[in-house]
Symmetry: C2
Subunit: 413 residues, 2 copies
């Protein structure tokens, strides 16, 4: 293979058709931010939006803002803006609550759509909160439900006629491995099960096609690739064909057919509103819209193309520049099977990542040995990728990571 | 009774020992804001806090903020700051999620603390979201659970040895009626049931004494009397004696004993952290702290004294100035039995409230005929109360409310 040069990377940037989106973000000087797969950076307009919702709306319009500034419909309007990025239609998505709570809603709804079966299939190595949530839900339902954990290569064997719900995360949080949504959903439906997808690591990173794949229910997060802000509210998708047929169990007043009638008994809304629980944190919610709009106004196919090209470039550069240092690429080398991050392993991974961060390249570390690098097209350049790997090489050549400060035991990463 | 004069009200303001808290808030000019019982107004420092968390923390420190700016412990630190205002100890409260979701947690936990019984008692005329939530929960648990609705005068009859959990709202959202927490909790415990209180309309409005009353579990909201911002996260209380003994069912990674170990299976934290689900909307959460701190640094007994005095004054002025206009006071006239709001009924209530709002007095309306006025000591003056009732009288005398614009049918109030 031809040697990759810095000039070649610069050339890639010159030809980047979505380079203009970089201007939408503010990043600290001298920082290459490769944690966009975990917490997206601040869009430039985020502060103006926060100011608008705090000072203008809350401060001046006070309680009338629920109507005059559309707070009461913000979950739905944000959902409609996000919908096209995941292949959903208007009226199929709401932005609301934390991710895990939305997992409760969709898995419970999925089980109710398939009431004669008792088995839920998930991936054991999944980001664990989904698994915890379903464990908690099934324990509460107290009715011989069974949670079966399977890894990728076991999925087809496990998904059979006994399964009620298959709930999988499209892109693996650690390795970045991308599952085949279309094939797995087809298999799921072929055995009469309900298909649920967690899009936390794929929504906003690649063109998801929920309706094209005939997915039943989905959830995802907005603080990663949608750059919605720290812990910004998650989203829930329910296909139109299921709406009004089944009820999710977290039944608050925002999911009622007539919230302001203050009826004593719950009467479910028959549209996507039933996925709502109660009053939402409006400041966080409003700011989320800024990030969602940047993604929604960018061609998802171009985002995907650049993401794959950056991932390939990163891996090629690690091969080219750092081959002697003992890194292993645990993400798929085939870009078609990879999300928008690349994970390396190294037995000194923790100290290496600490040294990288100290030198301005922010990736993150997952115990025991995984270094994760987010390759996020909206604000990173190909030159950033070059410089990140150059920094990695420098740290390994000089053994900077062996300095005491980088080896301190970490509390939380 | 002696006639109340405007000068007398001014005199009350001159002697107000917590008058200084008014400077902590920004309110629009020429507005008397009597909806603090529904959405508290913006504290002056709210915008600075929003700017800090958005621009400084998210914008500059990015993902490292989870540790360096204490985001990961914000639910607990806010809970500790709020705890003294409700008679709880540090380590017994977290600020997190929406109110209704916290109802799910505490009622499910309460049922698990009392596993041989199946009955939950609630007030049918409660703000309905709590009732909806429990209906949804019991339906999910699918095991002969029964929800019994009772009104205040029926409670003692209904709370018997068959009851598992009694879940009541301390101050009624509509009438402002205050229940006797101590007596009802004693009765609840005497029959072997678990006592849960919803403090949405009492937390921050009066000195709640959860531990003094030996309450088991509680929840409440921060966007009313704590002035935490629109839809700001709610709080959950679990008495120390129950922590680690029982698990709430919304089991996300933040409630895990070792969140960053990424274990496959849920292992509950044995302290208040188990009440957490997953990643929280940090901007809303951080801003909430500004309001909580104002309340927490003010003597709750003085807040209560002023609240009662303002409520009495409001009722006396309505009697004195508006007796011929057909209003009925549906809140208890005895201040000891009333929260921090006064509700009137009038068959033209909707139009009257619209006219009041148009003339700068913001209260709210609840169908079919209730006008609610929040008497919130932190930012209202006695003179505000005088002026509000003077405005009401003016509207009634001039029949301003009969103008067409005030009679338009409302969508959402």
């Amino acid at each position: 293979m031809t040697l990759i040069t810095k000039e070649y990377c610069q050339e890639l940037d010159n030809n980047d058709v979505i380079a203009h989106t970089q201007q939408e973000f503010t990043l600290p000087k001298d920082t290459i931010y490769m944690c966009g797969n975990s917490l997206g950076p601040m869009p430039k307009n985020a502060m103006a939006k926060a100011q608008e919702v705090v000072e203008q709306e809350w401060g001046k319009s006070l309680i009338t803002s629920w109507n005059v500034h559309g707070w009461f419909n913000l979950c739905q309007s944000l959902g409609d803006r996000l919908a096209p990025t995941i292949g959903a239609d208007a009226g199929e998505v709401v932005v609301t609550d934390a991710t895990g709570l939305n997992v409760t809603k969709v898995v419970a709804a999925g089980l109710r759509l398939n009431p004669t079966r008792k088995k839920v299939v998930m991936e054991g190595s999944n980001f664990p909160t989904d698994n915890y949530v379903v464990q908690g839900l099934l324990e509460l339902m107290n009715d011989d439900y069974e949670l079966v954990f399977a890894e990728e290569d076991e999925l087809y064997d496990v998904i059979d006629e006994s399964v009620a719900v298959v709930c999988l995360t499209q892109v693996h949080y650690k390795s970045g491995r991308l599952l085949d949504m279309k094939a797995i959903t087809e298999r799921t439906h072929a055995v009469g099960a309900i298909s649920i997808w967690d899009l936390c690591h794929s929504g906003g990173a690649l063109p998801v096609d929920l309706n094209g794949c005939n997915v039943d229910l989905a959830i995802g997060c907005t603080y990663k690739y949608y750059n919605g802000g720290p812990g910004s509210p998650a989203f829930v998708f329910m296909a139109k064909r299921h709406q009004g047929k089944v009820q999710q169990p977290l039944t608050g007043w925002w999911g009622h057919a007539a919230p302001f009638a203050f009826e004593r008994d719950y009467r479910p809304s028959e549209n996507i509103d039933q996925m709502l629980t109660g009053t939402q944190g409006i400041i966080s919610l409003a700011v989320t819209g800024v990030g969602i709009d940047i993604t929604a106004s960018t061609d998802m196919n171009e985002i995907r193309k650049k993401s794959q090209a950056m991932g390939d470039l990163f891996i090629q550069l690690v091969d080219q520049e750092c081959s002697e240092f003992g890194f292993e690429v645990i993400s798929p080398r085939d870009a078609a099977r990879r999300g928008s991050q690349v994970a390396l392993t190294h037995f000194e991974g923790y100290a290496i990542m600490q040294a990288m961060i100290a030198h301005g390249v922010m990736g993150d570390f997952r115990a025991p040995d995984t270094l994760r690098f987010g390759l996020t097209p909206l604000f990173l350049t190909y030159l950033d990728v070059w410089n990140a790997v150059a920094q990695l090489k420098d740290i390994m050549v000089k053994q900077t990571y062996k300095e005491a400060e980088y080896n301190k035991k970490h509390a939380v990463t």
